[in-house]
Symmetry: C2
Subunit: 217 residues, 2 copies
DNA sequence: TAAAATATTGACACGCATTATAAATATATT
DNA sequence: AATATATTTATAATGCGTGTCAATATTTTA
């Protein structure tokens, strides 16, 4: 990395740190570009040079955190592809829950910005991941062979993203949000489960929404 | 209505009309309070006096339209409570689809505003409606008697609202959005269906996501 | 009809994200 | 060491939603 790039990365880090500090100290509403520049000790223009926009700064903050999120998916024993799917969901909850207000603020700010590009990238990534996981489940015989894994994965990804939006708006806590998604995923997966996985999924479904709430045993 | 109230209502109508005109002509991004005031031929302050905020103007636009939405739910034959649930969904699609970009802009703008009160009211109303419809289905024996209708209705309402958010963000068309919701509703309802409704629901489910995509017959 | 209550207006200000411009400064290349 | 290039800086400007407040117009009340 050239000295020029080093200096840029140093400034980027300072700006990220200042942004995080402001959000943690006074809340996302207090994060303005002027204050950010002042606290990071750079000019107003610099964050625009180095990130692009306010939303891009926040996206960088989220990306930084997601480096810590990825290993979390592996935290749960991937005894099966479907267990891995559900484990990822649990990992998301664990990760966001330990710092819920901080992440909610960032997520909401990104979502309410008119910065379409970055959002679409995140949506695409989530859907692709979901599709891959569903495809693996089918490949391992946990779902019936004729399952349209692309459609089912897309359905699951969208369900997660949609409900995360309600988390960002403050209507659901992250745990409510994950419970809702889990229920949606399980209900859908159950319709495609192969014989040997069906019973286990039913148990998981009961666990999510209560025995009295599901009775198709 | 006193003459004073008449004048206010007249101005309100002019402002609504101007807002609609700007949105239709140049898109929601061009709707600023300054331009709105100019086009409605009132002062910049007047929309604030008469509505409260920009978001309130948009909410008024949506409310105005929703008067036409309500009868749509009755458009579909309510042969059963569940048919009525699904019919309402179809009604929402029909209504928004005939003017998709116009409504999408308004919806997105309201959702991305920090006007929490009105949004919460809308969310509450949707969830309550869903709960009532699910309760009616249970009362008529279409769902098993031990179904937790409050939880299931809430689940369905949130699923709809969450996906509508993705419509507002531009990630889904209204028809994709309704298809996703329909699938979620059907998958959940199927787990609570009584014997005599189960077969019909399965058919509806197939219709939504394709035969190859659901195979638990 | 005079007085009081109320609504609208106008000109202003604030803080916001973002962009433009040009000067100053650091780095890279020759 | 001199030149060329990239980046940051300072400053100002644009347009945005919203707020203040006094002045003015209109309606209601006495």
């Amino acid at each position: 990395m050239s000295r020029r790039e080093e200096a840029k990365e140093f400034n980027r880090a300072r700006i990220r740190a200042a942004a995080e500090d402001i959000i943690r100290r006074d809340g996302i509403a207090q994060l303005s570009m002027r204050r950010l520049a002042e606290q990071a000790d750079v000019s107003l223009r610099t964050p625009y040079n180095l990130f692009g926009s306010k939303a891009d700064v926040l996206i960088a903050l989220l990306d930084e955190a997601e480096c810590q999120l990825s290993p979390l998916a592996d935290m749960y024993p991937a005894s099966s592809a479907i267990a891995r799917l559900l484990g990822t969901l649990a990992g998301i909850e664990t990760f966001f829950a330990h710092d819920e207000e901080y992440f909610r603020g960032i997520y909401a700010a990104i979502m309410t910005s008119d910065h379409h590009g970055a959002r679409e990238a995140g949506v695409g990534r989530t859907i692709t991941t979901a599709q891959q996981m569903v495809a693996r489940a089918a490949a391992q015989g946990e779902l019936r062979a004729d399952t349209d894994t692309a459609a089912l994965g897309r359905y699951c990804g969208i369900a997660l993203l949609a409900v995360l939006g309600m988390w960002g708006s403050g209507f659901l806590s992250i745990s409510q949000c994950i419970a809702q998604t889990r229920r949606t995923w399980l209900a859908a997966l159950l319709h495609h489960a192969s014989e040997q996985t069906r019973a286990g999924l039913l148990d998981a479904y009961y666990e999510t929404c209560g025995k009295g709430d599901a009775n198709d045993r």
